[in-house]
Symmetry: C2
């Protein structure tokens, strides 16, 4: 996700649109990238660590983005 200190005009535009369309309960919106990394076999701690490392080294720009929410599918409601 964009680092908190980074200006997010896209997020601001989406927040305004949500409010106009009747979703007034959201005070702010931030938009970023989401990756699903498929593995053969179990999602072990090592796999999660490798996913975080791939996120930090390859899938994001560390200058403006933070890697957040690295988790196995079953840890989160679908």
């Amino acid at each position: 996700m964009p680092k908190p200190e980074i200006l997010d005009p896209q997020g601001k535009a989406v927040a305004a649109a949500l409010s106009r369309l009747g979703f007034g309960q959201f005070a702010g919106v931030r938009q970023g990238k989401r990756f699903e990394l498929e593995v053969d076999g179990d999602v072990t701690d090592e796999v999660l660590a490798a996913a975080r490392e791939a996120g930090e080294q390859v899938l994001s720009n560390p200058v403006i983005e933070d890697v957040v929410a690295v988790y196995a599918d079953e840890q989160v409601p679908a």
Copy 2:
């Protein structure tokens, strides 16, 4: 996230790059959008339902995208 049946050349390119850069444990990659919706107060079931509805009606293209993983921040490891 892109629907499973939708061709995801971006995801394929990222998967190939990960493999070249030594992250061989990932069999596939899919890339989509992630939104953080900020609310004042608690994240109730009603708020999560509104977030899913906003995702389905405003934040995604229902023809090619599915809304997945609607959750409160504290439900997932940081």
